[in-house]
Symmetry: C2
Subunit: 396 residues, 2 copies
């Protein structure tokens, strides 16, 4: 069902882009899987396989004999060809029948999610298309693949809402574990056990899902939980997400652990939290179809600078989907490594994180990550935004 829906979406995107056909070309997908594959086929493929979609909505598949039944049973392909000894002949026959003037392939310098074709497989295609005099017709399918991943259907959004709710519930439960003496590793283990208990999977590699950072001078990001223990006066921040029906959530929450006698946040912590909330709201206010991610990043980044904080050394927010980091358009600064991503116009149906971060000396990091959906007129929360920084009891 989802495969059929995505194939129709691809046909529409091909028409919009004036492209004649889109080929996903892959082999031994457990070794080098194109990230687009879950949208095209329900399981792994072994021999050379091609999925060819044209703007008229027709979908053709060429797969090894033993993958034929699996592909046919999707009901999404109008024609399925198989082979035993050589992929070449059915592929050439198929392309000869289509006679495409342009052939979109899954490669992109600027967007990793659209870059699933390996260079070896590109060379193979170049050779095969060369036999037909079509080697100069290959172009990047970045716009097609982006459209498929970024324009979330109602079904995709429903799965993402479930994944967000599950992660939020676990953030609620873990607060009782955040007490002096408890280590980052122990807190992470509690959350992971909760994921298993609920029959969920992690939104990214379990080494850092969740990541947990307590107090000042931590690694800050992308680092596994350590044996560092929570102490009174610590900010404790966590980055966490789960996967439901293949779709991810990706959220960050921050808590404060009271020092003896403390009932409210220290002024510096409160100021940090308020500033971060302001940065998030400023970014969200920018979001709408046609806006650029760069402008949302700038809005948040400037809010931090204006209030005397350093800017965060990363982009403000990424899209979320089947991967925690998904899609092409990015809420990010104009840095070389982000290429064209921050300049790509936003569209309704995109789901972004907003995740600025700042440091409060002596206490730690305030880091909050929310998720929003771009709508026809602006953006709406998918997560329940963290509007308070809880003061957790600092005595056992």
């Amino acid at each position: 069902m989802m495969i059929k829906e995505k194939i129709q979406q691809a046909a529409k995107a091909l028409s919009e882009c004036g492209l004649d056909c889109w080929i996903t070309f892959t082999r031994e997908t457990e070794i080098n899987g194109d990230p687009i594959l879950p949208f095209l086929v329900p399981g792994p493929l072994t021999w050379h396989s091609a999925f060819i979609i044209t703007p008229d909505g027709r979908a053709r598949a060429i797969v090894g004999r033993y993958d034929r039944a699996t592909v046919e049973e999707t009901g999404a392909y109008d024609e399925v060809y198989d082979f035993v000894t050589s992929f070449r002949e059915p592929f050439l026959d198929c392309i000869r029948a289509i006679q495409p003037a342009s052939i979109a392939l899954n490669y992109s310098e600027g967007s990793e999610i659209c870059d699933g074709l390996t260079h070896g497989m590109f060379l193979t295609l170049q050779g095969l298309l060369g036999e037909l005099g079509m080697a100069d017709r290959m172009v990047s399918a970045e716009r097609i693949v982006s459209a498929l991943r970024e324009r979330k259907s109602a079904g995709e959004l429903a799965s993402m809402r479930k994944a967000i709710r599950q992660a939020q519930e676990i953030f609620q439960l873990v607060q009782a574990q955040i007490v002096p003496g408890r280590t980052e590793r122990e807190i992470a283990a509690f959350m992971q056990a909760e994921v298993h208990r609920r029959g969920l999977t992690f939104a990214w590699h379990p080494d850092t899902c969740p990541s947990v950072f307590t107090g000042p001078d931590t690694a800050e990001a992308h680092y596994s939980p350590t044996d560092r223990a929570v102490e009174p006066g610590h900010l404790v921040t966590m980055d966490f997400g789960v996967r439901v029906d293949g779709y991810c959530s990706d959220l960050q929450r921050t808590f404060y652990v009271a020092r003896p006698g403390e009932t409210a946040l220290p002024e510096a912590v409160q100021h940090g939290f308020d500033t971060l909330r302001r940065a998030i709201e400023a970014a969200k206010a920018v979001l709408k179809p046609g806006a650029k991610g760069l402008d949302a990043d700038t809005a948040a980044r400037q809010t931090l600078l204006t209030h005397g904080y350093e800017e965060y050394p990363f982009g403000l927010g990424h899209q979320v989907g089947r991967f925690a980091h998904d899609g092409t358009a990015l809420l990010g600064p104009a840095w070389a490594k982000y290429a064209g991503k921050p300049f790509k116009p936003l569209e309704a149906g995109m789901v972004f994180t907003i995740e600025p971060r700042l440091s409060v000396p002596g206490h730690g990091i305030v880091s909050i990550e929310e998720m929003v959906l771009i709508t026809d007129s602006g953006a709406e929360w998918l997560s329940d935004p963290q509007v308070e920084l809880p003061v957790l009891a600092g005595t056992r």
Copy 2:
């Protein structure tokens, strides 16, 4: 430890091949992971990252700021550079310092396991090396990557032996489940529960690990277990493997379910089993360093043809390692899709499956898959070969 060992192995392979440096170039590895990465780094990477190894044994890494600590802690890299906004400058500095005359990259038309570089990332490297006038120095790293994956160390072999033992134990246990009325799906579920109970993971996608085929006219391979039930007179065959410490086993076993009053195998089944055993032994006898995989495939294939069976529509055996299908050299026929794999000379330390298959009309499939290690003088069993076809009780 393993990373350091593999880097030294790579340096040696570079010397053997007369190559000046080997670059693994990747980004967002949870989306497009190069299959070589577990040999180079312990966890996922987010921003553009390069691992550069030279024949003198020096290893340099260039990674995003948040991945620096993880890479440094391996102790395997002599220099680790990090960046926030742009990969370009540290990379160009590093290559300028090395001045390589040849630059090996992870792409290959003929070997998927050596084809981890995406085409988009190839274009990025081409652009960067072009700035140094070195774009014409890029060559395939197929020989380097193959050497790393194929020349198994004592530690790697120890893990594989454990993975084989575990799978064999589960094949032993499952025999009591193979009774008339039991479905393929139920038999698979029993084996999967056993994998979970032992804290193991699957050697390939759990949709087909195990695959289970009972009786005649089944899908034969790469197909999920169905609701088809075991009946007296059925051959039941299973393809299964587990992963221990990251290394796989991959084995097939076949059983016969007696008809009322039957105490021995029907003659046709016995003849099929004996022929298949002969084919396996004939192939094994060919294996030694310097031999070609093609010759082992031919030995088994001819054995089947000579005894009146159809040839199997796939290669006789593949290498096994961190993936169930690993390495470049293959025991296979000279078919277009296998490219140069069946012609690559075998080396000591390679681990292969031997897995011919034949059909016994009215009963089903006889399919056995063993695992062997190429030694200095020949080949030795890693699995305990199936030398009997058990006759299981056909009444409940």
